[in-house]
Amino acid sequence: MNGNMITVAFDGAVAQNEVGYACLEQDGTTQRLMSEIVRIRGRLADMQVFEDTRDLQIGDTVIFSGHLLSAELGPGLLKQIYDGLQNPLPQLAAQCGFFLQRGTYLNALDRQTAWAFTPAARPGDRLTAGETLGTVPEGIFKHRIMVPFTLRGVYTVKRVAPAADYTVEQEIAVLTDADGVDHSVTMLQRWPVKLPVTCFAERLKPVDTMTTRVRPVDTFFPVALGGTYCIPGPFGAGKTVLQQITSRYADVDIVVLAACGERAGEVVETLREFPELHDPRTGKSLMDRTIIICNTSSMPVAAREASVYTAVTLASYYRQMGLNVLLLADSTSRWAQALRELSGRLEEIPGEEAFPAYLESLIANFYERAGRVRLKDGTTGSVTIGGTVSPAGGNFDEPVTQATLKVVGAFHGLSRARSDARRFPAIDPLESWSKYRSVIEKERVEALRAILRQGSEVAQMMKVVGEEGTSINDFVTYLKGELLDAVYLQQNAFNEVDAATPADRQREMFAVVERAMLADYPFADKGVSRKFFQAVTQAFIDWNQTAADAPDFASRRETIERTIEEASRHA
């Protein structure tokens, strides 16, 4: 054994990714340490232990479970806070206190809670995996109890339980397969996390915008329901804050947060704040639509690798109910690093920066698990994946960023220069891109981006020749770019109103800033033009921080428009 890697001699048959338990005898008790087979060579299995391996010895017993690393699926997943192996952390805390204790595993779903089941299928119905047997209410959602995803082929419903309260382990249906064998079905099913869930009718193209209420995202670099995007950036550039904002305001049914190998403190902020915050769509607590998978940096590294798969499996499960699910992973680089540690212990031939050579295909496969699908009943559901990337030294030219950029549909690159200048969100407006549809017509967006680009070129030039050496026209272009940046691209996450701009308000704002940027101004000198843009910026920021239902909302807008009107009239 070496670190968390153990080599086990076995007899009988075992499978890649099968779960086993290393038995640690200590003071007369046995602790079972969960492990996963990562390589099989002859009669030897290499296993990564998901726990601290201290005190294990050569000769200790390992028990194989016969199943792959799996997630429990069923009602009661929402509102939960799990570790990467789906142990409920609050319950662990109740049992073990302040510290995580190795070898302690709890059921992901509570076995006592009874759920009010309403049957939907009837005896004689012929069904396949993923089709609905009945429903239970889970918060505001109608949670579908489905034919287990692992069942292959067509099944005939023999019996469905009558409407009543059942726990997740009670039988709610009996299905007969083609050979006449009966299968008892409960509300609880298991799915191997490393395999995609595919029991839907077909995959669809992501088309509809998933609004996040972050202006530079929705307007300039939009994300689609069922799409994928990444947020690379150096530390402190605002990746986590951007995801926190998105997790609050994104127009989706369910959010799965995978806190993967970063600070525990940041999860705590979500943990403590979400129950108090209201979902802008339903008015209910945000926690009601959230699942947190929390495998922060000091928790076992091998479980960190599992955590993103657990998260995407839970997201796919709710997609099967016709819901739009958003998975936010912070940070995918930590997952990649966990793979690197694993690969190093297996003494595989390393690729670039010692990452395994297959890193790229693993990243691609992970993002491929996103998507909008048409289910077997004709309804649609989606999983959208947004992952942060933490590149070494903030340099995007590294394996994880590059592999991710190849497969995602949108790129929100955060720049150190912007975050240093406190221009948040620090999404670089010239480097970032998106293949998805914006809340505003593409040509209009591109027109403003062109001015922004010219403005930035002028700014570069001005550093050399000074303001004196810049023509008034160029100078105004520069100021127009600065205006767009200051009032539209920058958004103060800590101002209640400014933090979230709904799509219709974005359209309204965009029209005003567009007018300011496309107008011709007959300014004679730079001082006057700077004063004018300063005034417009100030008025705009005041407007941005005014609630849409406030009495002065309309008048503030008019003030801005009048200012622009007056300045351009003399042209």
């Binding site: 302040f98 995580l100 525990a264 922060t296 030294g393 000074g466």
Partner: protein, 431 residues
Amino acid sequence: MHKVYHTIDNLAGSVITLRAEGVKYRELAEVTSRAGTSLAQVIKLDGGAVTLQVFAGARGVATDGRVRFLGHPMRVHFSDALLGRAFTGSAVPRDKGPVLADHLIDIGTPSVNPAKRIMPRNMVRTNIPMIDVFNSLVESQKLPVFARAGEPYNALLARIALQAEVDIIILGGMGLKYDDYLYFRDTLEESGALSRTVMIVHTASDPIVECMLVPDIALASAEQFALQGKKVLVLLTDMTSFADAMKEIAITMEQIPSNRGYPGDLYSQLASRYEKAVDFEGAGSITILAVTTMPGDDVTHPVPDNTGYITEGQFYLRNGRIEPFGSLSRLKQHVNKDTREDHRTIMDAMIKLYASFKETQEKQSMGFRMTEWDGKLLKYGVRFEREMMDLSVNIPLEKALDLGWQILADCFNPDEAGIPTKLISKFWPKK
């Protein structure tokens, strides 16, 4: 009792290999040879072959050295008797005090359940305006000081330790110059703080493996004090030496390096130490301040880079001052809303103006024309640097805020500072 082995098969760097039975992973052993006796830890088990890392290094260990396994992992003494004492990275007394061999605790304890963590809420006052006003330090925060070698970072740590109202100070020295160790000891002694201090110090001339143990011993003791309800401040200096020790050992173990020779798990290794910072509900807390020297003054070097991704902000120490740009306390917003109503405003306004001053300074150096406004900024910048940034300034937060208003009023008109009217009428000093 425990069997003694007499044959060592392999020696390299600080690592030895021998054949032994019934050995547990991470178990400690005592290695005795002509060079003396040293502790060692099991780092690999391969069939009957056991690989040990010898704390004092394998130099001088001969193939006929004796190895006795102790049956347990690394443990250190914990009690109030630690206070006022100094130890090496093997937890051997560095002072003339007695050996403490009882009340043993494990080092390298499991991590705190995130569900048990609470939101940070208490400001740690340092009387350094660049911290208190602009980037408040918060109890349970983990914060590095990024600096070039030669900057007065140890003096800064010592000063914060003395100023902060904490119950226990734990100093973890890694690759520390002996003089710096004496400096810490004398400074703490003179101010009477030594009696609430524990020092775990690896100096530059001590064995490299001991360097790696320092944070674990320091933090394990800190955790025990915190569980007893104590507010603990842990000072680590220098974490780059810690990372370099890991690098050196990884290379002798022939591990594949990921970036500039550092092992691929550098991030996880650093994180498992820094994440020990915590506020235990109903008990005490651990706050960590850690010097991270930047080789080549380069923040993208793997050690500061990985650190920045882990810690809750960073202080840049440059030319003896805490830089306002780049320095960040990610937890400040949890505390600076409850200090004084003008705190955030002064913080924002003064930094914005200082940024403008920097631009003006640049313009000036390029020979561009200076306006009246530029003149005001130049005057402001000089005063800001002298009266706020200089590390010799030692005033409480409230005095610093008052001083901020005074500097603004001396340099600008009220409507030029970018401050909301409401606060201007309340705080702007009358001439």
